[in-house]
């Protein structure tokens, strides 16, 4: 659905950030976009929204150029920034003005989401707290029913129950036509929500795998003794032992739940090993 082909982008003051970036986002998935500070997560979301002009390459949504910012494309892409701006107006006024721009906007769902997030009705948006504003914006973004939903640090400012509601609503909203891309530092907030992980580093994508595939190929084990470095992909000292990422065939684990935070650290530390390991899988699939 979304194709990013050989894209170059940089900021005037900081030079080139992405150099030949390639990425595909397929419908029916919730992607988690991870990366260190300054890796370009927010920039990537802005590029996909057509808010930043790429200097080279192609950026397509179902074959149409996103950068042209056609109204039809803007209806299909909803970008919710980390600090979203809500104008100083009544809540229902906001709904009346903005919802009409989205022809699939679902008022019933919007009301339902507001109730679930416990947002008070008929108040001025400026009177809401930061967290309430964020929840209002999330409710509106989900009700807009855009096919591409880009969320930048969506759980920042949300209280613990709201994070849980957010995960539930997002999981309910995804369908075979939609793509959700969540940029976050709070890996635990999106646990059990995202089905694919994209990790950005040094101007490119260094990891792009579904969690199901990752779980099929990788095993996360906790060992008491330090393993042989050649047998594993990554090892991290933990309380009372070692947490290890290894090939499943070598270290099987029945309760194989991938810890996203640990996976992120592992991929950043062992880029080459992980790249070689997952490309081996791809090569094998191609051979078959």
């Amino acid at each position: 659905m979304i194709e990013i082909k050989d894209v170059n982008f940089g900021y005037k003051k900081r030079g080139l950030l992405f150099d030949g970036l390639n990425l595909q986002l397929k419908p029916g998935n919730i992607y988690g976009l991870l990366g260190k500070n300054g890796a370009g997560k927010t920039t990537l979301l802005k590029i996909i929204s057509g808010l930043l002009h790429i200097s080279k390459g192609e950026l397509l949504l179902d074959g149409a150029k996103i950068i042209e910012r056609d109204p039809a494309i803007l209806q299909d892409i909803y970008f919710l920034p980390e600090n979203c701006y809500l104008p100083d107006m009544q809540m229902d006024e906001y709904f009346e003005i903005y919802s009409v721009f989205y022809n699939r906007f679902n008022k019933t769902k919007f009301d339902e989401y507001l109730v679930k997030f416990e947002i008070p009705f008929a108040v001025k948006l400026s009177s809401l707290s930061f967290g309430q504003k964020k929840k209002f914006a999330i409710a509106f973004a989900l009700a807009a029913e855009s096919r591409i939903l880009l969320l930048d640090e969506p759980t920042n400012g949300l209280d613990i129950p709201s994070k849980s509601i957010f995960r539930k609503l997002l999981a309910e909203s995804i369908n075979e036509e939609k793509v959700f891309l969540l940029s976050t530092h709070q890996a635990r907030d999106v646990k059990n929500l995202i089905d694919s992980i994209i990790i950005l580093e040094a101007g490119g994508v260094i990891f792009n795998q579904s969690l199901a595939d990752t779980g099929d190929k990788l095993s996360l084990c906790f060992l008491q003794k330090e393993p042989n470095a050649n047998d594993i992909l990554y090892c991290e000292k933990t309380l009372g032992g070692y947490a290890v990422f290894a090939e499943k065939e070598k270290y099987s684990n029945d309760e194989n739940e991938i810890d996203i935070e640990m996976l992120f650290n592992a991929v950043l530390e062992q880029k080459e090993k992980f790249a070689a390991f997952f490309s081996k899988g791809v090569d094998n699939e191609k051979t078959l």
Binding site: Y85, E93, I97
Partner: protein, 255 residues
């Protein structure tokens, strides 16, 4: 979906513009009315002609006010959060540009005329109340249709410069646009006085009277060409460049 212009989307955007600016429109209108009332009060003491007040001071103040507001009409682009919200509205760049243009021209002009009229009504009412027996002057008919057209024919080209400045410059748009206009007219004046005037003088004195008359006619023609360019061609060109600039506007400056 119509790609570049859809009337319904355009109306919705226009309504959004009015709702977002309703408070500032009212505040500015009230401020302008108060300013006119203040001037009227001062006017009584300096005994200046009412003609100057109605035909020069009020329109000049209204034009200044409209140009100042025009300069900040794209204020959404000054803040990164507002910029994202504005650029992501599912409407075409043409619709967004036209809405801002119509708002900064017609809405502001109507507002200014309303402010002038309100101030006049209040002044005349106060006059009647404070001086019993004195009848009200004509208050709504200060300007003839021809005068209004004349003012607008100067206003629209000038406003185009400020509208361009609003979309092109970030921060201090009014001052930057004013500097741009002064610089532009300065260059034209220098070109006119250093190249054309001496040319007329040399031709006129060294050669014949006929040549001199011809050269004066020539510079007169050139002056009208410059006038035509600065009042008609350049404002239109700036409106087009402004549109292209908005089309290229990003959430941040990329390379």
């Amino acid at each position: 979906m119509k790609k570049h212009f859809d009337l319904q989307r355009f109306i919705l955007l226009f309504v959004r513009e009015l709702i977002l600016n309703k408070l500032s429109i009212l505040i500015m209108g009230a401020a302008l009315t108060l300013l006119f009332l203040g001037w009227d009060y001062v006017w009584r003491y300096i005994h200046m002609s009412v003609y100057i007040k109605h035909y020069f001071v009020y329109p000049a103040a209204a034009v200044f006010y409209c140009l100042a507001i025009t300069s900040s009409v794209f204020k959404e682009l000054d803040s990164s959060q507002k910029k994202i919200e504005y650029l992501m509205i599912p409407a075409s760049v043409l619709e967004k540009y036209l809405v801002k243009y119509i708002y900064s021209t017609f809405v502001l002009i109507i507002m200014s005329i309303a402010a002038i009229s309100t101030a006049s009504i209040i002044v005349e009412l106060l006059k009647v109340l404070s001086l019993p027996g004195k009848s009200m002057s004509s208050i709504m008919n200060h300007y003839t249709y021809a005068q209004l057209v004349l003012v607008l024919s100067y206003y629209f080209p000038l406003q185009a410069y400020f509208f361009f400045g609003a979309v092109y410059f970030r921060k201090l748009e009014f001052i930057k646009t004013l500097t741009m206009i002064i610089a532009m007219y300065g260059i034209i004046y220098m070109f006119y006085s250093t190249v054309l005037d001496p040319f007329t003088y040399i031709i006129g004195t060294k050669y014949s009277y006929v040549l001199s008359v011809n050269s004066i006619e020539y510079t007169k023609d050139l002056a009208s060409v410059i006038r035509f360019v600065t009042v008609s061609v350049l404002p239109l060109a700036l409106l087009v460049v402004g549109y292209l600039r908005l089309k290229e506007t990003e959430a941040a400056d990329g390379i």
